[in-house]
Symmetry: C2
Subunit: 242 residues, 2 copies
């Protein structure tokens, strides 16, 4: 009898936005794994602090790098690949020992999540089950107080890490926009929105569904401001509404 690796979506940040299915898995977890930056508690682990048994065995998966090596450097991919290989081997060993393990995932596990890299390595080897979660962008548009897309609106999700010209091309084509991973990319994202005439309609949401959530019209964000990495910029669709 081998165990199952559960990739459990915890939603955007507030513990009461976790689903009943996820809560049940967390409450009975014997093994728990989560990603975190070196020297941090980990966002997913912090979210789950009151949802786990006190005696769960924890496995912190610490990213070996964040911005120390540029994305384009082949060492970046190699270092991360080795990291994910090691994490996956550890989780597979737990499952092959007959125990289940719950991987805590912010937002939705299959939507730009680190869990996907484990899933790809584990899926052929042990049983893997995914529990969807509320993505961070849904918390962002809820915080904005306005629906993100109406009727036949085309919604495009962009990473702030993309090049300015790529951002511009997609910003021109879509009705509604979600830009994720804004952080240090804010000046570039802002210029792309200005070039497409959409900056005046954009909103910035920092720390959606967290204690320090902040919703600001992009036009009111000072030029030098560097928001957190997971900051989201939205342009709401204006489609059909009877």
């Amino acid at each position: 009898m081998t165990g199952t690796v559960y990739g459990v979506g915890l939603g955007p940040g507030e513990p009461d936005l976790v689903s009943a299915r996820a809560l049940k898995l967390l409450a009975s977890a014997r093994h728990v794994a989560f990603f975190r930056k070196k020297g941090r508690a980990g966002r997913a682990r912090t979210l789950a602090r009151d949802l786990l048994p006190a005696d769960a065995v924890e496995f912190a998966m610490e990213y070996p790098l964040t911005t120390e090596i540029p994305l384009e450097d082949p060492r970046y991919n190699r270092t991360l690949a080795e990291f994910y290989d090691g994490c996956a081997a550890h989780l597979a060993a737990i499952a092959e020992d007959g125990e289940d393990v719950v991987v805590l995932c912010e937002g939705d596990p299959f939507f730009y999540g680190s869990f996907m890299h484990l899933h790809e390595r584990l899926n052929a080897r042990v049983a893997v089950e995914v529990v969807p979660g509320i993505p961070g962008m849904a918390a962002a548009w809820t915080a904005s107080g306005m629906p993100i897309a109406w009727g036949d609106d085309v919604l495009t999700v962009l990473m702030g890490t993309l090049e300015e010209d790529v951002l511009v091309r997609h910003m021109e084509a879509a009705d509604a926009l979600v830009v994720m991973k804004v952080g240090r990319n804010l000046p570039k994202v802002r210029v792309a929105l200005e070039r497409t005439g959409r900056a005046q309609d954009a909103w910035m949401i920092e720390c959606a569904a967290m204690a320090d959530q902040k919703v600001t019209r992009l036009a009111d964000v000072p030029a030098g401001h560097v928001p957190p990495y997971f900051t989201i910029v939205l342009v709401h669709g204006q489609g059909r509404r009877p």
Copy 2:
């Protein structure tokens, strides 16, 4: 003291994918409202059947039309506008009487949901609060067993109701695709995917996160098949993965 209208996202269809916050609001609801087609129980109401108090006062909001009048006909918008006006007036009256009312919403209320039309009418008049939910598309990609978007992938969400050439333009530009409201639009969606060389990579998810969920490679769907209206077609992104 006036009450609050809560737009509560219930997620994609399985009761245990409802969030703790939503469950709490449902369990203590005195007034509950939900949309449904004439002659149907209503999908949101069915999802919530074991989550509501037995003595809650229910208000079924029955769509006055679905496909009887074409979208382009001015009577379509007029009929729907009057319908939403009437629903909003009823909910506002409950809140102005000092009672809270919970509006049951499939998926996420601010993501292509009918609740948005009530929100627009109620927001200036009474207190409105929105609880985000897991969108149906997240259940669809979870059911497909594959992550929807990686790294810097551009994800575009399209309605199957769009014209073929519009679908083609966006399908060419994006890395990952979600096509919603497929139903009778399946032949057009399929042609658009074929024109952009993406039909072989497409998956169709009928009834995501419901008892009769079905995941099929689009290439294996027979030509004459008419899936349910809320069917989703996906093309997964293939972005960076260390």
